[in-house]
């Protein structure tokens, strides 16, 4: 589902160098490593927010290197992203923020309403439907972002530090959500340095260190 072949990314310094790995369809895997190692960068490469300087990436059958500007939106519609910095729109309600992910698909307003309400129930935010993001706690905002990433039932779900603002009880709720989505067939890739998320899960964990993959183990 996701395949990296000798991928390198340079900003001022080398961030990622000759990274190769692949995530299978239906897998739920983790990427971990110290802050600044390039976890976010790696995810951005997957949904084409940045392009690799070397190597090639394939996502859900799309060759990132060959994508035209025009076709990038269609790749992104297959990839739900829980952004580390949330990217919620502050002039829109929780409902509208989540609905946006479906409106860009030109879905019918009635279906949008149903799907958004259901996903807000899933993330336990039904009562905040008409609230604005800045009136929500960090953890609540986090769950809105997760709801927005899930609502379109993407082929691939990327989550960048999805429990960064959550206590352990809410972290568990969120992790259970990801497991559910995954069970429905979505490939899930979670970037985190919260080791308790993957300990004793038996899932694959990719450790990044100094621009490279240090090891891949079962959590």
């Amino acid at each position: 589902m996701i395949q990296f072949i000798d991928v390198s990314k340079f900003y001022e310094d080398v961030v990622l160098k000759d990274i190769s790995f692949s995530i299978n369809k239906g897998e739920l895997a983790f990427i971990t490593g110290p802050s600044g190692v390039g976890k976010t960068t790696l995810l951005k490469l997957i949904y084409a927010e940045t392009i690799p300087d070397e190597g090639n990436i394939t996502v859900a059958g799309w060759e990132i290197r060959d994508l035209k500007q025009r076709t990038i939106p269609y790749l992104r519609r297959h990839v739900g992203v829980v952004f580390q910095d949330f990217r919620l729109l502050h002039n829109k309600t929780v409902f509208d923020n989540v609905a946006l992910a479906l409106r860009i698909h030109n879905m019918h307003p009635k279906e949008i309403k149903e799907d958004v309400n259901e996903v807000l129930k899933d993330v336990k935010l039904k009562h905040k439907t008409n609230a604005f993001p800045q009136h929500l706690s960090g953890g609540e905002q986090q769950r809105v972002v997760i709801a927005r990433a899930m609502v379109s039932r993407p082929t691939v779900l990327l989550a960048d530090e999805p429990t960064g603002n959550l206590d352990s009880a809410n972290s568990e709720i969120v992790m259970n959500l990801f497991k559910e989505i995954n069970a429905r067939g979505t490939t899930v890739l979670i970037a985190t340095h919260n080791e308790s998320l993957f300990h004793h899960t038996g899932r694959r964990v990719i450790y990044l260190k100094d621009t490279a993959i240090e090891r891949e183990v079962s959590g």
């Binding site: 025009r70 990217r87 307003p109």
Partner: protein, 294 residues
């Protein structure tokens, strides 16, 4: 199709969220169009005034003193067959004298001492409106003067030149002012839409990351421009209508000279103004939207 639905919804929401800027923009567009349409109305009316003036313009062809009746008829036929000539009027010596008496009024008695009518008979020719170009009329007059039986050709050379200058100035300034105002309207909307665009940069960025297409992102901006243009145009149109009504009702009593210029106003203009506003604003937002890098 649903793209359009969401875009209209989004455009209306965004317009409402920034209603004061939008109203200001619409007002600027409206004022621009009001000036333009007022100018067009004045020009339109001036043109019909000029046409009326032009109708009174004539070439006077004086015939030789000793011309025979047959020769006079031949000349008349020639004029009548001339495609450039709209109207031919024959003024006999006697008629000319009678007119002169009328003009002199109480002084007319000085004419009584004359043994012989000193005035020549003449033809007065009216040329077609679009031929009233000084160089053309001059050539025409020279041609007529060459004809046999004709002693002299006279026409208001200076008058014709100034008619022409006025017409030309009016045309040039219509084009210049009209163009300037239309460009100004394009620029006003362009600017407003660009400001919106920068204000919503973050939103656009997020939409892009969620997988929104170019048209999904751009369409609301285009529609906003279009709506601003229509609203502005309607404001301009209503203002024109109001000013015109007031002038007709009251102003004419005080300034009668305005009557000639303002009295008739083509109905189409009330519809054309919003359409022009919409079009120009759409162009403005189209240019602004073109700046969205994607």
């Amino acid at each position: 199709m649903r793209v359009l639905f969401y875009s209209i919804q989004s455009a209306l929401k965004n317009l409402w969220a920034e209603k004061w800027i939008n109203l200001l923009t619409a007002f600027s567009v409206g004022i621009g169009l009001l000036i333009l349409s007022t100018f067009i109305t004045v020009t339109f009316n001036m043109d019909s005034v000029l046409k009326r003036w032009a109708r009174s313009f004539g070439i006077v062809v004086y015939l030789d003193d000793d011309i025979s009746a047959e020769a006079t008829d031949t000349v008349r036929e020639l004029f009548k067959q001339d495609a450039d000539v709209l109207e031919v009027n024959y003024i006999s010596e006697d008629e000319a004298l009678r007119e002169l008496r009328l003009i002199l009024g109480s002084e007319a008695s000085i004419l009584d001492d004359l043994e012989r009518n000193p005035l020549p008979s003449s033809f007065e020719l009216k040329l077609k409106r679009d031929l009233l170009i000084p160089s053309y009329v001059k050539k025409k007059a020279e041609e007529i003067e060459e004809m046999s039986g004709i002693s002299q050709v006279q026409y208001g050379e200076k008058w014709l030149a100034s008619l022409n200058t006025v017409t030309r100035i009016m045309k040039a300034s219509s084009i210049f002012l009209g163009g300037a105002i239309l460009i100004a309207i394009i620029f006003i909307t362009y600017n407003t839409i660009k400001i919106f665009f920068y204000r919503r940069k973050e939103e656009i960025e997020t939409l892009k990351l969620l997988g929104a297409t170019k048209s999904f992102i751009r369409l609301p901006f285009l529609l906003e421009g279009l709506i601003i243009g229509i609203v502005g145009g309607t404001i301009g149109s209503l203002a024109l209508f109001g000013i015109h009504s007031v002038l007709v009702a009251k102003g004419l009593d005080f300034i009668p000279s305005v009557r000639a210029i303002i009295v008739s106003i083509p109905d189409e203009i009330f519809l054309s103004v919003p359409v022009a506003g919409a079009l120009m604003s759409f162009i403005g937002s189209f240019i602004a939207v073109g700046k969205i890098r994607y």
